[in-house]
Amino acid sequence: MKFTAYKPLARSVLLESLRRKDLWVVAILGFLIILCAGTLGFFGFDGLEIFAKDLAVTVLGLFSTIIAVLTSCRLIPDEIKNRTLYPLLARPITRFDLLIGKLMGAVVVTWISFLILCGLTAIALTVFHVQFNVIMLQYVFAKMIGLVVICALSMTLSIYLTPNASATLAFILAFGTPMMTRGLTMSATSVGPFGKFVYATINGALPQVQLFDIGGRAVYPNWAPVPMWVIGFLVAYGMIYSFAMLGAGWLKFRKQAV
């Protein structure tokens, strides 16, 4: 692993994304958020604080996931298609270094987008005197770790599948995992030990992105902050899952003829 390789790779992803005006999409989404808040204000905001916060975290979760998937899914396929991969791989770095550097770039782009959206949402809610508490900050932090998982998952899928197929599957997994997990857990109660093992394995392989979404609690003004050990667990799970995803991507990418 070559740590000096990650910064230039990540910077190039960020610069390309900025100049390609990808972040304009974020600005438009942010404008929509403010517009929604304005509409709420127009019809009267009293007693709607929880609803407004709930709507905000739902919109933030949706938009940031879309940005994470779309940014990460095209990185490696675009490098191969545009033949920009050759001069990169001609450098004294490993293909794993390349994957880490590209993932870091995708994560930085996603985080910046997410934080811009958070900032705009916060401004929109502050106008209506919505109170923020510690758990809101924890929500933002946990969500950022969850976005790393989604980026790693999307990039790995794009190594095995076409960009469109990988984006579709990444969306299904990012939005559908909570439902799939519930289904698997319920089904596991009615099968034997081997069936339980199979279900547990499938469940373990799924990205448990719902763990990172504490927005449901964060919207209530009196909800206590999440204990730090839980946040620590989320960080550990996020890192382990992301590295496992990168490892799975590398297994194919390391020997892939380009």
Binding site: T4, P8, R83, P87, L89, A90, P92, T94, K255
Partner: protein
Amino acid sequence: MHPAISVENLFVQYKTKKGEIVDAVKDLSFHVQEGEIVGFLGPNGAGKSSTLKVLMGFVNSQSGNASIFGEAAGTPESRKQIGYLPEVAMYYPFLTPLETLTMYGELQGLKGPWLKKEILDLLDLLGIGNSAKKLNRSLSKGMLQRVGIAQSLLGNPKLLILDEVTSGLDPVGRKELRNLLKQRQQDGATLFFSSHELAEVDMLCDRIILMNKGEFVEEKIVASLKDELQTFALVYSNMTSLRGLTDHIVVRDIDKFEARFGTKEAMITAIGRVQAGGGQVLDVVAKEGSLENYFVETVEAAA
């Protein structure tokens, strides 16, 4: 001392989309010594790019060995010593040449003000200093090729592997590039490049390696090859028998003949015969052979 490039019994296969196995390179062996400029020639589909890709680690060989200065080809250690220009130069459209080269330089392990100075010097040397801060997407094909050449020269690598190096360059650019590459050789670099531009190969290379249909055909020292390809013409008067020396005799005029010889020795013998027969030698011409004819004939013979 290890050769700059060593390839031994290399086999490379590809699987087509239909699942068929295609032999791209078959039992290829050659060496490139440090300080040489070697041209890697062959028609389209000969296996040149596949071989270069193995040297860079972009594809894996089925069997055989390839090494760069003694390091297994394709490893980060071997790539530390290589500057590589791909056949089709594409660079990030939304970055500038300065940013692009900074990224490649940093990946190469270079950094700081020294890197920036080297980049700007290289861009100036390649005639695109004024475009250092324009987006790559706004540059012409020739300018992008120069960006590609600049990235391959970053960090003063010991070995330059260049795939179709003159592609997209105008005649002035080609001449400048030739001078630049010659200068790099004088500074100790080894050059290994594939090209279809035989005139460039002729002017630049010390040696050529010829491939066809994935197989090694032959290698030649360019200076010796030029000697081999050189022909000699003798214009003389008086019908003198040159039997045994040449069959190529053309009647130019009444009592004026032109005979062609493959070697200088045959021509000297012929001059002796003409003079002994009372004839006069009117003209002696040495003609350069065509590398293109040699290329076509050799490839056809190998097919």
